[in-house]
Structures are given as structure tokens and as C-alpha cells.
Symmetry: C2
Subunit: 281 residues, 2 copies
């Protein structure tokens, strides 16, 4: 059924992808962007700029558009709320989401999903809307991971798994067995930049293996929202950080713009390896 | 007994402290510094510059000095080894330490300690040589942690505990419930600088609580080596990172130059809180 789709659109190119894929299916699409944080909108789709203080207005706009399904795409900053501006809906939901705002990402996302569901919307995963976002396991590039890369990947997987216990982070960068960086709330791009600018000099052998970025979803994460993703920009940043390659967990990390990702990685001599975590750990 | 003491001296002021404390006890002190990484030596103590490639020479020099006890103080980078230069002793120990060089910090340290012990040296903890490095629990400063700070501290403790499972990191920075940074191999100073320069803008409320640095030893860590430490410089960096205070695990984190730490924190309006981890989690 070509029912209208609402994309709760944050940063990056994922919302554009989803909108185009939905359009190909003949669906009308509305973007809901956080006020002050405009989403990419090259196809001039209808947009509703929401404030968390005015959730009543958001739900009303989505219903008016006929959207019964919503998909979350792209991160948004945790909002700085002005309680004076709360509308009735936000006020009634405040006991739910205010405590969640101070919890880990997972807790907050679960709460947000629950709110949309309790308002009668079906929440879809991005990869349900666009079929090929989750590549099958294998090495996507000409360049292949070597034994040192695989050991670095295993170490990074171990760290992400441990961090998962504390509901934080979805990535780590390990080079020659040394943990250069662990992902926190600022995310993968910042982590890669930090390695490029500063942490990279902690490699034991500056001329040795550059190390790997591993990304995977947190254990128990709701795969409908905030599934980690890499894109062409991730490859460029990984190259600047001097990495040998990128390792992502099969079925748990989206690859946006896959052709461009692979082309850039091939040009840069990086590998992109999609693997179940059992294989490396 | 005022027996000679060898300090395996790395970065920072801890070796100076230990040397002065040992001198007060009437002990002769020799510093062993890694070649290319000179230790602070304001008191012009005898120094032996070692290379990991020439461990035979190091052990010989320490024995010649009469040192039966060694204490490790201050971090050194993981050495970039030239196997061509290995002496007989290093060659015989290579099967032990080469694999450990690619393991986590704990594994490497355990191996290094084991090597010194098998050579007949007794390895002492820094806080065995200097009695007051580990402050008792309590708030050392005029400024006290508030409820938000305590929640941030509990969250950071949770993260460090989880990371401990993967033998990495001894610290995390949390502000208003958001995990700004997780410590990896580059250490606390780099993490604080990263928050000052970049990650700090991820605080939900820029004018809200600045957050806390928590530091604690890894579970099961050998407390004789690489016990985490804070000093006056940590306070200055924490201030630059906009933090509200520093939380350290009682009995597990050394405070160097305690008077200066407390004075600087009082001047900066920061708290320094020494607490068992049970209290916060």
C-alpha cells in the first residue's frame, strides 16, 4: 500500500535516501525536522519543523498529511527544552520523556518510539523502507583485511560489546592492538577526527598498520532507530585518520551510498569488511 | 632498611615525589628512564637510560647500584622495538613480552612486572613508598558535588566498570547524563583536552552542569603499577573542559601534589570527591 510516510529527519543523507526510495514506491513523503536543525531536502518535499515543546502540533501535522507510518532517520541533538512553551500534548508526555532525556541513548530512543506508537503511528526501520541498506557479509572492497587488521577488529568488537553493557557507544578504533579511541555521544565522525588530529600518534609503530574502525549496534538495541551507519564521508574521515579499513557488523550497520563508499575506499586503499561479530571475536 | 631504590621513571612528577620521599628515608635512588623519554630529574639523581632492546644492560645497572626494589612511576609509550639490537637478555625474554605488547595495558603490565620479579627484583607500589598518595574518602575541596554531579559520577562509574571488562580505560566524562568522552589509550589529559576543544558542545544545556571526570582503577588491576593519578594539571585541564568536578575512586587513584590540587580546585570552583564506587552506583 502506497500510504504516506513521515520521515523524522535528522542529520545526514539518510532521510534523502529514504524519501527517494519511498517516492519510487509511489508514496507521499513528509519530512519532520527539528526547528533549527534543517534536514537535507534536495527534492523539495513538504517539511514540518517541529519543536519537542509542541508535540501536539507535530502529531497533528503528520495526521493531517495522512501519515500512519514514521521512520526515524539521522541523529538530532538532545533538545534544550523550554518548559514554558510546552503545549498540552508535550505537557502530558513530559513525565515519560523528561527522565529519559537524562538516560543513555537507548533509553531515550525507546521512550520516543513508545510515544509515537502510543499516538497510533507505526514505526518502521530505515532498512524496511530501503531494502539494500544492510549489505550481506563479505569484503566490499578490492583491499582485504589482513591478520593484524582482523586482530584489531576483534579487539574493537570486544570493547564495543563491553560498552554496550553501559548503553553507550557503537564504535571503537584500534591500531596494532592499541585502543586509540572509544566512541561516546559525539559519535563516529568526531572520533575519527580525533584520531586524525591527535590520538593517531599513539600507534606503537607509526609506519605500521593503521588500524580499524569497528561499528556495530549495541546489544539489545531497537533496530528501528539509530542503527549505526557509514557513508562516503566515513571513508574519507577514516582515510584522514590513517586507518587501514572499516569493519561493520553484518545486519547491524547501514551503508549509505554504497557505490560511492566502495569507490572511495578502493581509491584510498581501504577495506570495508562486513562481518558477523562471532567471526572476529 | 634504607636499601637503594630503582624508579622506573616515565612521564610526570610522580617519579620526583617518590625519589624525594625515598631520600627522606635515607635511601639511595636511581632513575631508569626510557632512552628518548627523559624523566623529570630536578634533584640530579643518577640516571640510567634504558632501551627495551637492552634489558640485560638495565638489570646489570640496577644490580650494580644495589637496588633490590623497583617502583614503576609514570607512563611510557609502548616502545618501537628494533629486534636487530636485542641483547641476549631481551632475546631470551622476547617470547614473554612480544605477545604482551599487542595486548591490553593490563596484560602488558603484568608481563613487565613478572619479568622484573623473575630477575629477582621486588616490585613496590608507589603508594607503599609515599604514604599519603591515596586520600581517604570525602570531598577534599570547599566546593561540594550536587545531585546532578552525583548522577553524572554514577553514570561515569558504570562506564568505567563496563570498559574494565575489556581491559581498557580508567576514566570517563559525563555531563548532564551525556557521555562526552570515554578514556582510551591516549589517557586522561587527552580526554580532557578533547572535551575542552570539541566534545563539550554536546552538553544538552550549555549553561547547565559542566559534568564530572571519573577516574578509577580497572577491576583486577595490579595496584603496584599504573595506578591512575590526578595532579594539579588535571584540575587545570578539567577547568578548561568546563567540568564541575573530579571524582576518584577511594583507594584506587593517587593524588599528586595534594595541596596544590586542592588549592587550584578551590580557586576554580571545582570539587574533588574521593568515594568508594558503591556510594555512587
Amino acid at each position: 500500500m502506497a500510504t504516506p510516510l513521515a520521515i523524522i529527519a535528522g542529520q545526514g543523507s539518510l532521510p534523502v535516501y529514504l524519501a527517494r526510495a519511498a517516492a519510487l514506491q509511489g508514496r507521499a513523503v513528509i519530512l519532520a525536522e527539528m526547528e533549527g536543525h534543517p534536514a537535507q531536502n534536495p527534492d523539495s518535499l513538504p517539511v514540518f519543523a517541529y519543536r519537542v515543546e509542541k508535540l501536539g502540533a507535530l502529531f497533528k501535522a503528520l495526521r493531517k498529511f495522512g501519515a500512519q507510518e514514521v521512520v526515524f532517520a539521522g541523529g538530532v541533538p538532545r533538545p534544550k527544552l523550554d518548559p514554558v512553551k510546552f503545549d498540552l500534548k508535550t505537557m502530558s508526555l513530559a513525565p515519560k520523556f523528561l527522565p529519559a532525556l537524562r538516560s543513555g541513548d537507548d533509553g531515550l530512543l525507546r521512550t520516543v518510539l513508545g510515544i509515537f506508537e502510543s499516538e497510533g503511528f507505526a514505526v518502521r526501520a530505515a532498512h524496511e523502507v530501503v531494502g539494500d541498506l544492510l549489505p550481506a557479509q563479505g569484503v566490499l572492497t578490492r583491499h582485504q583485511p589482513g591478520p593484524v587488521d582482523k586482530k584489531d577488529a576483534a579487539r574493537a568488537m570486544q570493547i564495543v560489546a563491553a560498552l554496550s553493557e553501559a548503553d553507550v557507544g557503537q564504535g571503537a578504533i584500534v591500531a596494532q592492538g592499541v585502543v586509540l579511541a572509544v566512541e561516546a555521544t559525539p559519535g563516529t565522525d568526531e572520533m575519527l577526527d580525533y584520531v586524525a588530529q591527535s590520538a593517531g600518534r599513539w600507534r606503537p609503530d607509526a609506519s605500521g598498520q593503521g588500524g580499524v574502525l569497528f561499528k556495530g549496534p549495541k546489544r539489545g538495541q531497537d533496530l528501528r532507530v539509530d542503527l549505526p551507519a557509514i557513508g562516503p564521508d566515513t571513508v574519507t574521515r577514516a582515510q584522514k585518520a590513517g586507518l587501514a579499513g572499516i569493519v561493520i557488523e553484518a545486519g547491524g550497520v547501514m551503508v549509505l551510498d554504497r557505490k560511492d563508499v566502495v569507490d572511495r575506499a578502493n581509491d584510498a586503499g581501504l577495506f570495508v569488511w562486513v562481518t558477523p561479530i562471532e567471526a572476529g571475536t
